[in-house]
Symmetry: C2
Subunit: 366 residues, 2 copies
Amino acid sequence: MRAEGYLLREEDLLPLSIGAALLGTGGGGNPYVGMLRARELIRRGAEVRVIPLDALNDGDWVAEVGGIGAPVVGVEKIEEGGECYRAMRAVEDAAGVKVSAVISAEIGGSNSIEPIIAAAMAGLPVVDGDGMGRAFPEVQMTTYMIYGADVSPAAIADEKGNVVVFKQVIDMFWLERFARDVAVAMGAGAGFAVAPMRGDFVKRTAVPGTVSQALEIGRTVLDARAKRQNVVERVVATTGATLFFTGKIIDILRELTGGFSRGHAIIAGTGDWTGSQARIAIQNENLVLWIDEKPAVMVPDLIMNLEIDTGEPITTEMLRYGQRVAVIGLPAHGLLKTPRALDIVGPKAFGFPELTFEPLIAREIA
Amino acid sequence: MRAEGYLLREEDLLPLSIGAALLGTGGGGNPYVGMLRARELIRRGAEVRVIPLDALNDGDWVAEVGGIGAPVVGVEKIEEGGECYRAMRAVEDAAGVKVSAVISAEIGGSNSIEPIIAAAMAGLPVVDGDGMGRAFPEVQMTTYMIYGADVSPAAIADEKGNVVVFKQVIDMFWLERFARDVAVAMGAGAGFAVAPMRGDFVKRTAVPGTVSQALEIGRTVLDARAKRQNVVERVVATTGATLFFTGKIIDILRELTGGFSRGHAIIAGTGDWTGSQARIAIQNENLVLWIDEKPAVMVPDLIMNLEIDTGEPITTEMLRYGQRVAVIGLPAHGLLKTPRALDIVGPKAFGFPELTFEPLIAREIA
């Protein structure tokens, strides 16, 4: 592996977590506690280099890690910090390999930071990319899994010291089932590591550049706030997103079932959308946006809620009655929109048999 | 390990499974399918030697295996046969040891036969003993766990090829929780292997001689049937059990919750007990027997239902309205009645805070 890329600085963590919260499309968990853990490690001298996909050698082993559980639980059940690291060491043991880099399962939310903590603890670089370019609620929904990564060995670790290894698993749906059930037993929040992947496979299947993309979005938000600019407009301009709706949340249904937060939010239009109503379906993440009951954006494309005044991304567990939100949409990466990918992360896979994926068209980036 | 003991013959399997069904106190699963698997292996030439505890060397590693799940599921979800064997190999891998003998977690029901199948597949002997001298519904309820066996690594395997390893688990209650949840995900029936134990530990903590005891009980039942004797009387005489009640089942409540069969049976007295009513509480196994609402026998002592005419042991999943039963009780082994053991397998541990264990006194064996 070549020493390319850049070292993460302490001051990168806040913008990274803001950008990741946005790309999390409501999910991926709140990155705040993870950010504090990462900051502590960097302050104590840990060096984490962000390397481009190209820097991987074909034969390198790469660990994929991330938190698993219901984001809403993460608000009160504080991670210990070493969960993903211990899961990563357990898959190394089980696979009989040593990894030389860490990559995120999903860039969205806390899972942008978890690989950085594991990498800092292990003295390894983090790859600039992830398996979703956003967040999704289930284990099989990474580009790695979609394009044929080994399903086992995988491992899960909690804050108490328990480590469970999925030594041999017949397919990715079984892995999701086992991992979810153990994560629920662990209190609906745990660190997860999947089978180490070879560098050439990661280069072919990862969504590239998403750590840098999250950093860039976060820096834009912070810059706009500092300059008292309209944050939503700046985010839309930087990312090429489309503003789909503005309004006030008038109803929230959110249930914790089977280790997921499921539900919906209803938004009454304001401004240009006065008189209209939007609805967003949720399974940890925002899945589908309807405006006046017509589907406007659907998975795998990204649906993101920003607080209108501050531009703060609102994760699904933070949605509240009365919040004023801007709903923006962003096209997913092409790796998520092939027929093979849509079988796993398209609207039908999320329980909307009536919806056929209609891609959102990217706007020109300012 | 010394080559003592005796080779299991094909014709031993039927009496073994009858005796084990009785010692299962209603649980442990129906041994019939396992018996067919074991018979097939022995017919094909597998040799399984039953060795006494004394034959173990202190430094030998011993594998503890058994089925895990809800017995009622085993009636329809047929085991593939290699589940316990694969779980045993997975714990050997995880612990980095090779075992030289197999011992049962519980002699009761199908778990008398599971170690024989695993031993036959691995070419190993089976130790004459087990961790309960009966059957219990939960993982921590073995004498091994009660007296401090390592909790991890443990492993669980299903008939489809999935293998999950509990690599590091902080205590036996967490092991029960994880193993139960994964067993439920696997369809509420799977093979389980706990951390290999040293020979000296097994000699101190196993309930001795229970394979031979089950064989002896089964042979008595078959002999009594062949001679058209009263089977219940012969079983009582051979085992030192006490006949507590005879009657007709007039009500059954049985629910499958959390991977367990739970419920109760109500029995209207006949013969000497005409006018009385008995109630048996169930969690996979028979837990407490009340006669006219006064507790008569309670865990860990053994409560066993026999069909009056045939002497057939009735497992809890086979209880039916209208069956005529004899309820007999047998004292548990002393290892289950220490204060330390009663914390885990006494009536309070099973959710009867109002009951303080009153030991059943053994009758003289005829």
